[in-house]
Symmetry: D2
Subunit: 339 residues, 4 copies
């Protein structure tokens, strides 16, 4: 794994270390990373579980180590640059950045990757599997590159897919997704925005239009930009996401049908929990787990529905989903190491 010192990388290290089928992960750091020689120096949480040496990254080291799957917890520019070389070496890759999630050039604009004039890059981009195991499990065993989804995107895509596929929604009305996230989603780099005094006792909206995760959401839900509004907020808590989704259902659709649609779609899937109609998830229920929790209220005698989706941005929104994808890539139970 490259990038263990960030919050997602740290969680991924924890999960892989405890995974019954994975070997202890090889932790590699980029030249820019001045972190110490052992991850337990940054994260004393890890001590008492043996060493977690951080080695300088090189392709030679990766080859010699006999790595089966390369996890990239790297900035999207780095992931975009490194993945072709990794695939060339025959490695399978799970990339946690946004570099390979988007099929439409227009959506890639926010990352500066709208142009894929290089044919190899275009092929890789086309072949990359969007790493939502609940949507694309069948593609994982054959995937060379899995583009692990964004945290906000996961919460919204899992919430809306069943009703949209089952035709239960009024598609003429725009869907509003008001999302709220804990601060770890903003990364480990200290900035004025992540200073304790600035965040605590506070709430703020940001990137009101055009947040990077919007493209993923639209592509996976097959919606146009006018059909969905997504605005994130920064919560004064370290982790967790709650998305409040406002929509209209098709005429005559009942709460029972809505609940049944969710239950049917996620039947047999371990990591999406459906609450009974009228019961709502809260952030704390899914913290430190790989669950995404879904619940909704349908307006009495009305068409309006409010759908709540909660998850832990570092687990189901990042490292846990990455492990879930790895499990499917290697033909294991998707819940190995995640229960």
């Amino acid at each position: 794994m490259v990038g263990a010192t960030g919050y997602s990388g740290f969680e991924l290290t924890r999960l892989l270390n405890a995974h019954p089928r994975a070997k202890k992960p090889l932790l590699l750091k980029r030249a820019e990373d001045t972190a110490s020689a052992d991850l337990a120096e940054c994260y004393p949480h890890l001590s008492g579980n043996g060493g977690f040496p951080l080695e300088p990254f090189s392709w030679t080291r990766v080859k010699n180590a006999g790595v089966d799957v390369l996890f990239l917890c790297t900035p999207h520019e780095v992931s975009r640059a490194w993945v072709p070389e990794a695939l060339e070496l025959g490695l399978r890759v799970v990339d946690l950045s946004g570099a390979w999630r988007l099929k439409q050039a227009a959506h890639r604009g926010v990352y500066g990757f709208e142009d894929s004039s290089c044919q190899r890059t275009a092929e890789i981009n086309d072949a990359a599997v969007y790493g939502s195991p609940e949507l694309h499990a069948a593609k994982m065993p054959g995937a060379a590159l899995v583009a692990n989804p964004g945290c906000y995107a996961t919460s919204i895509i899992l919430a809306l897919t069943p009703w949209l596929r089952d035709g239960l929604m009024d598609r003429s009305a725009a869907i509003v997704c008001d999302a709220k996230s804990g601060v770890s989603g903003a990364g480990k780099q200290p900035t004025p925005r992540t200073h304790f005094v600035e965040v605590s006792e506070n709430l703020s909206a940001y990137t009101v239009f055009g947040h990077r995760h919007t493209g993923e959401i639209l592509e996976q839900l097959d919606l146009g930009g006018d059909q969905l509004q997504f605005t994130p907020h920064l919560l004064p808590i370290p982790r967790g996401i709650l998305s409040t989704i406002y929509a209209r259902v098709a005429p005559g659709v009942s709460a029972a049908e809505l609940e049944e649609s969710l239950r049917r779609f996620y039947a047999g899937r371990k990591f999406v929990r459906i609450f009974a109609a009228g019961a709502l998830p809260e952030i704390k229920y899914s913290l430190h787990t790989n669950f995404c929790d879904l619940g909704f209220c349908l307006e009495p005698n009305g068409q309006r529905v409010v759908l709540i989706s909660c998850l832990d941005n570092l687990i189901k929104g990042a490292a846990g989903q990455a492990v879930q994808n790895m499990n499917l890539m290697f033909g294991w139970s998707e819940s190995e190491g995640l229960a």
Copy 2:
């Protein structure tokens, strides 16, 4: 004042105590209130400023004290029962409960006051002034009963009034108000819902449809129930409200026109601060003040607008607005004791 031991009552006591034109308030407690003999025993914050004796409430005591204005920080049932008697005695009243805010019987249903078959009650209800000084300042000098607005309602009504009145909004699209409040809005009574361990590290939505403040918002904005969706959330902070409002503007409306509309409407009003187009308020800016902060983003090349409204639920959302109303009732500057 009756009800100083609650959070709003405590803030009101603080404000009145420091008010340059008000006498030290007479604090009265209902028989049910087992609080101690001095408010500074519940709130040691107050000590060092002289005594704050809590006396048992009686109409005789009120009469003898020569009270000019009676503040009721009481449950709505109590306010509904007491106000007629207070008016009978010639007192002017500022009621901080929801008892007298609603003109339409249907909206009063959530409080159980839909029926005003008693003619005196109906007259009082009709004559009550909705205590939004930015909307109804002209009525305050003559008001016998001011119904101080709800905290959420204040944040949403102040945000939307100018654009609706100026015809800048697309009224065919429903407005979504996703509001978030600190815990003091839930009152001082300890409940499982206000337990620290339940609230901290968490976020939850509640009363998804039909929150009590919905009626006030619809009446003051002159909207039908289908035109506005209001859903509140409980934030892990002690105080402050941020409302995120999703709407569509009328075709061709520019960000400059939207900003100008807000500035024009609130010209000369001290306690609404307008942020430049594209700049957004955060909860912390207005904490411990009587300001309501408004800011918005208009979608580039689009009709969608996101409007953010922030205030301190205990000050502008309750006690501060009550003092502002008092100032206007007595012909003083609205900012006396609030700067």
Copy 3:
């Protein structure tokens, strides 16, 4: 288990449910407990892992269920009353209350149990094993009753035992233990003390002299009341304890000796982590784990030492330590189900 609805009981349920050698626990509730029929209704965190039915407690139910060990997460009065009957039935008991922790009658005064004139009670009290696995592991296999330690007591006893036993401390100077705990230590009952608005943005000391855990600490460390001062504080966080311990070491004792003493005493023990001299644990490192973390600074050229001890009050301070004790009682590795 009796008492799963409290915070410790909930954590114990989680741990036992995931324990590789334990059966799914039988959850029993006392008549006073009005909780719902399934623990997942109180704690939706548990859903997705099968049912957690809460059955009314009766000795008949306990007998018929073939229970191997009875966990009591009950008030100390209840534990004091029930344990004799449980032992009579041949059950082994781990009691998480303070009912059976204290050998000296004077120390039991805070619980109202100073008098053990009943001979059977006195025998049980004498035979009870204080459930600190790092101190009394050898007694666990034969123990009928294990009195699981208090959370504060665990943090202080584990910190001070090695140096006291090794004679490294200046016993003429009183030891000061300034301890700070998250709010879950105050229990799940909503009170003014646990209201979010009262706790957040705050810190307070309480029970400055004579906190209930003082007796345990003195007995296990074999100190007199004058030799140790223990004062707890309430932190605005949901869980975790940090104890700052001020002491003097014997003349000439070096930091290396102090560190060596800790390492030697806890050699082979999984759940006490020793930090290098001069490095200090923080609360977050041990949250959600069964670790107790110890670190210290020795004054340069001096005799003063500050020792920091951190743990999660619900895991190592309660449920995790209970499972660790169970493991030792049944001859299993002490880390089964806790890694």
Copy 4:
């Protein structure tokens, strides 16, 4: 004022702006300060109160402005360098840094100022008044340079001075001061230490021996280094300090005598509030005020006493105390602009 962009400088700006006798402060920024042209851009809290232009600092600008008192919210190196020049110009200075607080060269070592071989510097250092208005009010009217105390130091010095002066303490026993502060005490610069995710849900001790404020405390209390142990902790709250002080009283001293000593010493002083014996202050009581709150518990039948001292580190611990000093320097009531 120089340095308005830091947390103390911002609070000082707020206080001076609302001060009935002070003109609106002239805000100057050092060349290193890249802050914007108006303080309200960094702190939108200030908007609605006119402009707060930030001008580049120069001595010419200071002279021309007719400044009566220069507040320095600057790093201690800067304050050490600038004060001689300011005094040369005939300005009176209140310095909020640690540059001029310490009389003993050994104590100044932590700032790198142990050597005052320059005679002018030595004279200034000797003449500087330690800015504790409760201790040195009489010196303020004539003071050219007031060295505003450290926040921790204020909380401990105010707590211990009366008993030490009245001979009520057992001086043979070392005093332990376990202090806890909110994060604003660590400054506005984003660092790994102030990152929200690192601080929240956490508590940590730091600078266990030799914190910079130790020298001030020892000098003002006239104690030797062995007689007092001071260790600070970082609380997961934005502001506020609580110091828990462990000491022994002289034989036979009663709680009434202790309380009386505090009340007598602070008689006529507005900003120290004494709690009745056995009642303890909490951080929240003094937040956003200039009060220092003192309370204590004496051990029943014992000599041990625990004394709690609380204040707001940005107000009484910095900006408020600076205003209080200014009031005394100019012969005004010490509470002007602070009530």
